[in-house]
Subunit: 277 residues, 2 copies
Amino acid sequence: MERIEQHASFGGRQEVWQHDSVTLGCAMRLAVYLPPAALAGQPCPVLYWLSGLTCSEQNFITKAGAQQHAAQHQLIVVAPDTSPRGEAVANDPAYDLGQGAGFYVNATQAPWASHFRMQDYVADELPALIESQFPATAARGISGHSMGGHGALVTALRHPGRYRSVSAFSPIVAPSQVPWGQKALTAYLGEDRSRWQDWDTVALIANATERLLLLVDQGEADEFLTSQLRPELLEAACQHAGHPLTLRRHPGYDHSYYFIASFLADHFSHHADALRD
Amino acid sequence: MERIEQHASFGGRQEVWQHDSVTLGCAMRLAVYLPPAALAGQPCPVLYWLSGLTCSEQNFITKAGAQQHAAQHQLIVVAPDTSPRGEAVANDPAYDLGQGAGFYVNATQAPWASHFRMQDYVADELPALIESQFPATAARGISGHSMGGHGALVTALRHPGRYRSVSAFSPIVAPSQVPWGQKALTAYLGEDRSRWQDWDTVALIANATERLLLLVDQGEADEFLTSQLRPELLEAACQHAGHPLTLRRHPGYDHSYYFIASFLADHFSHHADALRD
């Protein structure tokens, strides 16, 4: 692992690291915020943040104002890049497929299958790396935005017991039913829609064996609300399955980091409550 | 004036506007945060923020986490671009001269004199625009970072009575004595160094007729500390003139927005105390 950035921030330190990912077969960057307690060597719980389409490990750490909350609650925050990267990695000119658009799945189709295994990276390799290289406990929370909100929900639902808390901003809750998701799942998993169900929050909730509360914030002026996000599908699925959901709709808020920053304190409180038990 | 961005943020609204500046002779962009009280039509004091080299009106509003503090204190925050822009405006390939590097002076030398009048823009045209177009009172504070910290200090010192409060992060306090400043002042004002004194905080403090407290934060791991910033010169000038100064040195902090975000709450409190009197 090589540290390529470090900045003092709110009494802790914002770092950016690069390592060779075995799962993805390429170099990966990840942002790690170490709160004051972690700098003092005290093991801290970890909140994983998954970003949205076109993002890298930089967006959340520069735009969300997360460090103040992480310092307050003494949480390590880990924000990985959103896909494998590099010249040897398959790509697509569109912003919503390929590099920067991994959708947190394990691809089975050419040319994606060889590198696009973001689910295994996020759920397995990344926690193992963090818990071996940093003063991190095994108490894990996961959150994200848009494609990364989908990633957070799906990853928690697919791995009962692995995370103590989960939340999302503006998540793609039913990729099988919306254009972004249909395009990505077709490319990464193939035309057989039955295989998509393992990667669709609304589908996974029906048979979830763990009923972690989902905290979801959604802006009502979000430009993707009715075409790509459709929180009413999540609401119906949770109601039908008896899955606990706190869905907050915020009039006037859009899909940007201005929205995330405005309500991020509540998400940190939600995760800290579960992670500090 | 044309509004080109608007985002709900912490109960208020982050906007970006473009207008034709008479002073600068070009279109200018400026960011305006309207706190909840201003959205409700209640006149609010205004904090002006001047950004550093290479910045536009975007850096502060996306990276500093300012909106939460502005909402809490019910302050309008105005962050203009750092220079005139456009194909008709003189430029230089270097990052520290020309577009993005106006240094908040009124240039007298060709080819700069025709557009580079950032001092008059910031001190005169901008407040008049804001106070006529938004629910703003005439209570003004000014702050900034690096080149913009220089801009905030110089603008307040040159206009006694115009601002009620001033602060800076990592300011260039003695441009006459450091490479960034010497290059810019030579280009914009000419070789005659006696003309530089009107644009140099350390020089202006000697004869200031108003003794506003200067709140200055400086990171001790700032990569420009000893070459370009030299806060000890400010300390000595204030001590000699009896000018009130609160200079805080922060071990481990660098020149980035991670530093600004970490201590911005204190600056907002400082300004709000003066602006809400």
